[in-house]
Amino acid sequence: MLPDRSSFGWQQGFFDYSTSSFSELLRQGAPHLLPGHRDAPAEESAVPAVPHGTTVLALRYRDGVIMAGDRQASEGYQVAHRRIEKIFKADDLSGVGIAGAAGPAMEMARLFQTELEHYEKVEGENLSLDGKANRLGSMIRMNLPMAMQGLIVVPIFAGFDERAGLGRLFKYDVTGGRYEEADYFAQGSGGKDARDSLKKRFKRDLPKDEALRVAIEALIDASDEDLGTGGPDLIRNILPSVKTITRSGFAEVPEDEIRRHCEAVLNDRGRL
């Protein structure tokens, strides 16, 4: 628990100065900008259908972590958006994959990015990967009132841990509970199908090319089984988004490389 705002003198000054959390700053200065701070409707009124992000996954490989997501947002049985981006760079060494209600999830990702950058600028060094994972957990907890109304946000967080020298990934529950996964995880409506696929194909310390193939195959499997998940659309040129996070930073996998893997998977299954 942070000290009470009404404490006196130098202690107040000490506290005011030593806060390097951006969300704490918003809580004091502009609480309306925080997620979950809106007045929730008093009755159990149903929230109107809003776009939901569907499948995102993360897996460890030899150099770090791969994060991938399909590009579709669904609103019930309707396609809300075909080219949505679900994997966001959080800072140079970490990323967030969002699943659940797209609006609040993207807002949370933006707040999280600002939070990490703010800490880095004020303190002059980066937050540890565990510190980042915990901050994201507390943001999900802030969103709990909204989650009770049906606007659930459950991201995946992955990053390269400089101190340990390896890639790590975390999943969350709606209450902000944080759980570290050793090898891989997938979240969202097609998450279970993607996990089934990853379970069979995943091996430890895969080289990049093979790990990319495993990730893309899992997304294709999810899109096969789950209505909400969009598969690669080679005609419209809508491909899953895939990012790598390694010691040298957060990088996008180029589109032609993703396309090559998609075509290879579909070809092997006789669908191309």
């Binding site: 951006f22 502009a30 900008l33 600002t114 703010h118 600028k121």
Partner: protein, 230 residues
């Protein structure tokens, strides 16, 4: 409580200004120089951990001279101002001008209302982008006076002499290493020793960088530049 003595407002302001100026002139100097790819900031600062030059936002940097705790406080306030603004509007809406005005207001209020004025001067620098928007350099004094400078700026101890040197030697479109050499020479005008990478803190707002333009120049690189530039 009645005041024991009457002091005329003029005298009070004069005393405060003199006090602040004395504090600032004891400190070491900082120069900012516009060069081809952005803006360079060179500070004389023997510490590698306590910075005088730092990042505020994507295109904005901060430099402070005088009392460390005072300009450090201003720096953190600036980061907060910029981050809240960028989060509630958009990243492109954060400007050096509004930040410089905020500093000017804060320092002006402190100067007139507090017993002890801040013994600081700060620079707020914003780098323009490739399509010809100009760089902006704002210089804010201990009493809230604000001025915008072009091409170069200097502040801190004996900054008049440094500014004179820069006025005589500055050229437009300098490349990076020439700008570093000019900055270091300018700081050496008031000293009778050679400054090495151990006495200097150098950073740039590099127009060519993605999103966050601020970059510190590590001592090894600086060493190389200084030995080549001789």
């Amino acid at each position: 409580m009645p005041l024991p003595y009457y002091v005329s407002p003029e005298q009070m302001m004069k005393d405060k200004a003199e006090y602040a100026r004395k504090g600032i002139s004891r400190g070491k100097a900082i120069v900012a120089i516009e060069y081809r790819d952005g803006v360079l900031l060179v500070a004389e600062n023997p510490s590698t951990l306590l910075h005088k030059v730092s990042e505020i936002y994507d295109r904005i940097a901060f430099a402070g001279v005088g009392k460390y705790n005072e300009f450090e406080n201003l720096r953190v306030a600036g980061v907060r101002h910029a981050d809240v603004k960028g989060y509630s509007y958009s990243r492109g809406d954060v400007s050096a001008k509004s930040l410089a005005n905020a500093y000017s207001q804060a320092l002006g209020n402190i100067f007139t209302q507090d017993i002890k004025p801040f013994e600081v001067e700060v620079l707020v620098v914003e780098v323009g982008d490739n399509n010809e928007t100009k760089n902006e350099i704002y210089h804010i004094l201990y009493d809230g006076t604000i001025e915008d400078e072009k091409n170069y700026a200097a502040m801190g101890g004996q900054s008049d002499e440094i500014r004179r040197y820069l006025k005589d030697n500055y050229q437009e479109n300098l490349d990076f290493s020439a700008a570093v050499t000019l900055g270091v020479r300018a700081l050496m005008v008031t000293q009778n020793k050679t400054l090495t990478e151990r006495d200097l803190e150098v950073a740039v707002l590099d127009r060519g960088k993605e999103r966050r333009k601020f970059r510190r120049i590590p001592p090894e690189v600086l060493h190389q530049l200084l030995t080549d530039g001789k």
